[in-house]
Amino acid sequence: MAKKKTLKNNDIDEKKRLELYNSQYLIRVAEQRAYDLFLENLVKGTSHLSLGQEAIAAGFATAMQENDKSFCTYRGHAHTLARGASVVGVLGELMQRDCGLMRGKGGSMHLTDTSKGVMGSYAIIGAHLPMAVGSAWRAQYMGHDDVATVFFGDGTTNIGAFHEALNYAVVYKLPVIFVCENNNYMEYTPIESITAVKNPAADRASAYGLDSIIIDGNDADEVYRTAQVAYSKARSGDGPSLIECKTYRQSGHSRADPGAYRPDGELDHWKKNNDPITRYRSRLIEFGVKQKTIDGIEASVKKLVDEATEEAKNSPVPPEEILTTNVYANGGWAWRN
């Protein structure tokens, strides 16, 4: 693409932009599919979707290098897919099939694909922040150049582990990036009603000597640029960053949540005026990307997700003999002789 100097946002080339769009669109379609499969009773248990929050996962993952590590919450499908985990593996795990990333032993809340740097998804609020700090400690200790990124919600800023992790990371100047996805809600409770400060993450940054960084989490370019700055800071030994991304969750908190607590019109407003995918699509067109190219991306994503869905549907459930495997490092579960 010939760079049009008249447009702002021209530092990201077309290839990257298409990558960012592809990633966001894949998450959108896969999450929508997860929801549909839930309605068909093919996704069991619980699941927490990132519909509306795609730009954060796409922006960060696109800025990462291959050996970087991601630590996610139970709302982790997006980040797992964004790192390139197989769609069959993700949908299969949600459908509790043998083809799942963890063969049905983890489920939706614990997606893990270490081959892609996804070091697990954690469902006890706050726990994975110190783990990301530990991964960063190892990188610093062993002289590796990878950075750990930990994604968490606004509600998570009110648990102790958040504060312990930030202090610890700053004290030892560790290469870790704390990404708060502020989607306005801690489950069903508006975050401002239960938090002492207006910006749950950014307003706490100064307590740890960090810059207060607030960005539009529904703008993949802004996320990507901010991430790049944070990664280069971390990689040059200048320590952690805390980034608060303003966003909005378009689905319920978890699959069972109809979202009745939302004020009238709020959801519509975000969907109509501040949907990351719609916004990014318009920007691509503004930049002169051909409609045909965008259609091509969307068609190939849909095809990928359709095929993955079929494959997962046809995959057997996990065999019963794996019930007692991988409890201990010897592969088994024996606790006595």
Binding site: T114, G120, A127, T325, N337
Partner: protein, 325 residues
């Protein structure tokens, strides 16, 4: 053989492993420059420096979380939680995280780390600094649980724990830090999951752990001297994996089982052992299996009260005599 105290054996074990393996590092509160509140890690900072022996903030969750994150990405950290009571503050990492990540990820994640902690009573520290919580840990699938009673076992089992691929909770008994014992010279590595007969006997079996081991041995000696009752004492050493073979062989030989437990009564580790023995060796028993435990109360601070709370040599002696008579 060298004579070392239990606390010196801790430092010796850590030093041995840090010398052998660059990926072993040690973190905790006041563990480096000050050498630990129990002086169990004196000398490590001078020897290995601030990169590998690290004073941390009072952040138990960050300590265990950092150890986990480092372990899952290639290190073999040792983390100290000063008093085992404080594990309650970061129990999430033990009960939900390090114990489950391997299983939940179907083997993708590993967690080779050691959590060392000062456990047990006898120091008049009261209810929040004296507990024996090894039975909490034993209740969680996915971790290993070690509690040595001698300096040699401290060094050998600590080395084995560091080399183990699974997360290990390593309970050091605070009232044993001062005891002295022979420790093999040179590299010493023991085996997890092995109990030891520390006093052979034929009339009854006592199964004991940590501080209860020397007390059980003393009680057994006294029973022999006073009454000619010959009691075998088995030091369990590691609760998980549990060496039931050694325990069962002893019970088959003696026909009687006593457990001596410092943990409070309910769901103490002895309950599990008794239930296994009743299940599998019922017809080998010549009488009831009896548990001698701390009563189900918080630990008091006053010395006279604490002394009648934790099983003593006298209590073990009298109970066994009463039951066997």
């Amino acid at each position: 053989m060298a004579q070392l105290t239990y606390r010196e054996a801790v430092a010796a074990g850590i030093a041995q492993e840090m010398e052998r393996d660059e990926t072993v590092a040690f973190i905790g509160e006041d563990v480096a420059r000050a050498g630990g509140v129990f002086k169990a890690t004196v000398g490590l900072f001078d020897k290995f420096g601030p990169k590998r022996v690290i004073d941390t903030p009072i952040s138990e969750q960050a300590i265990l979380g950092a150890a986990m994150g480092a372990a899952m990405t290639g290190m073999r950290p040792i983390a100290e939680i000063m008093f085992s009571d404080f594990l309650a503050v970061c129990w999430d990492f033990v009960a939900n995280e390090m114990s489950k990540s391997r299983y939940m990820s179907d083997g993708q994640l590993k967690c080779p780390l050691v959590v060392r902690t000062g456990n047990g009573g006898g120091s008049r520290f009261g209810a929040q600094h004296s507990q024996s919580i090894e039975n909490w840990a034993m209740a969680i699938p996915g971790i290993k649980v070690v509690a040595p009673s001698t300096p040699a076992d401290v060094k050998g089992l600590l080395a084995a724990s560091v080399r183990d691929e699974d997360p290990v909770i390593f309970f050091e008994h605070k009232s044993l830090y001062a005891i002295k014992g022979e420790v093999p010279e040179g590299e010493h590595v023991d085996t997890l999951g092995t109990a030891k007969v520390v006093r052979p006997g034929k009339d009854a079996t006592i199964v004991a752990l940590a501080l209860m081991v020397p007390r059980a041995v003393q009680a057994a000696d006294k029973l022999m001297t006073d009454h000619g009752i010959d009691v075998e004492v088995v030091d369990i050493r590691t609760l998980v994996p549990l060496d039931m073979k050694t325990i069962s062989n002893s019970v088959i030989k003696t026909g009687r089982l006593f457990t001596v437990e410092e943990n409070p009564r309910l769901c103490g580790w002895g309950a599990e052992i008794v239930s296994i023995v009743v299940d599998e060796l019922f017809w080998d028993l010549d009488g009831p299996a009896v548990r001698i435990t701390t009563p189900h109360i918080p630990l008091p601070a006053a010395d006279n009260l604490e002394d009648i709370t934790i099983p003593s040599v006298d209590r073990i002696y009298s109970k066994i005599l009463e039951v066997l008579r």
